[in-house]
Amino acid sequence: MVIIIDYNIGNLLSVQNMFKYLGVNSRISNSIEDIRNADKLVLPGVGHFKTGMENLIHSNLLETLSEEVLIKKKPILGICLGMQLMTKHSDEGDCNGLGWLDATTRKFQISDTLKVPHMGWNDVHYKKDSKLTEDFSADPRYYFVHSYHVQCNQEADVLGTTTYGYEFVAAFQHDNIYGVQFHPEKSHKYGMELLRNFNKI
């Protein structure tokens, strides 16, 4: 069972819709028990970093999540804001994050000719082998919408990059902790293959 963590921030149902389509058992939940019993966890999210962190804190799930992710090493996938929340700090709201890996979230620093948010379809170049990215049927492209991006301090954590003005981290992986900046749940078969792989980890 994949538990999609409900911390009162949008975009939960579309993730579940895709799991449903793939025949993967998933549930949207904010229960400590569900998180403990889950095989895998997904931390989705759209919106402001600070709001996301505050909601996570108010959800009273932080202690359970840290235990499951950092000690029991349960696979977790952060999507968009969910990925950013896993970093140590964000420029957005000058706010500390979960700090699950050595990375920070920075605002896009690009020229006036490119628009922010980075919104639309873009390519991802995967830099290392990972169970998340095995056996893709085609060159992947994904739907992005974000104004901030992750910067990994450990090169080894970078799973894939995308170029928009400059190269940034589109996907990371550190042990059991996975994050993607794009929206697999909105990225046709390219996203489906990724979520199916995540379920198989």
């Binding site: 402001h48 990225s187 996203g191």
Partner: protein, 253 residues
């Protein structure tokens, strides 16, 4: 490298059915929206726009059940517009899994709705749709309520005002060109693009990949089209279609 502009089919909903209009008039039933979305899903479209043209006219609520059914079948970003007047309605739509709320008629009396929604969900989740056409003196005027209510707003000023209010994207929809295959209003697009920071999606009149190319050259971030993707010409038989990714790719190089 800049982003590949998005190519966006527009689906007009009316009382639960899929319709297609001509210059905002003569709505013609063209089929079941769920079926159309399934086909667009298979064709891996960049994004979909769902516009319920019955809501503002009938003063009705969005058809949440229909939206839910559509979203369950669609694995691409979707914008929904039609009948959204309050932040609670917007929340219900977002909770169903829609990425973008499209506002239009309610902004005539309540432009603050843009900032209310964008402050919670982020500006990239709020799109302002601007329907406009020329008056008898050749001046562009903004229309509301599916083109039935004329205002004194000029589309460029209106777009800039809505950008300031927090709209993350503007759809520029030319009523006179809608359904006509005459090509986009490139002149107004490039005019607006010189003044505005947020992405602009152009709509109304598309008939070919060349129209998309012209729009890209004029700065469009997205090209919306209805008839082109729903009909097969010359007889406008209903045939859901969408060019392949490779055909688009050639446009951007």
């Amino acid at each position: 490298m800049s982003l590949r502009p998005r190519v966006i089919p527009v689906l007009l909903l009316q009382n639960g059915g899929l319709v297609k209009t001509y210059k905002f008039k003569q709505p013609k039933y063209v089929g079941d929206p769920i079926n159309a979305v399934k086909i667009f899903n298979e064709k891996e479209v960049d994004e979909l726009l769902l516009l319920d043209i019955s809501c503002s006219v009938n003063q009705s609520e969005p058809d949440y059940n229909l939206i839910h059914e559509i979203v369950s079948e669609a694995f691409m970003p979707i914008g929904y517009g039609g009948g959204i007047k309050t932040i609670d309605q917007a929340k219900r739509i977002f909770d169903l899994g829609i990425e973008k709320i499209i506002l239009n008629t309610s902004l005539q009396t309540n432009p603050d709705l843009v900032s209310q929604i964008s402050s919670i969900y982020g500006s990239s989740s709020v799109v302002a749709n601007i329907d406009y056409k020329k008056n008898i003196f050749g001046k562009h005027k903004v229309f509301f309520k599916s083109g039935t209510i004329k205002s004194e707003f000029n589309p460029i000023d209106w777009a800039l005002k809505l950008q300031e209010a927090g709209a993350g994207e503007i759809i520029l929809n030319n009523i006179d060109r809608e359904g006509t295959y005459r090509g986009y209003d490139i002149e107004l697009l490039s005019n607006l693009n010189n003044k505005i920071k947020v992405p602009v999606v152009i709509s109304g009149g598309a008939s070919s990949l060349e129209d998309f190319k012209n729009a890209i050259d004029a700065g469009a971030s997205g090209m919306a089209a209805g008839s082109m993707f729903i009909y097969k010409r010359p007889h406008n038989a209903v045939l859901i279609n969408y060019p392949s990714f490779n055909e688009f790719k050639n446009l951007y190089s």
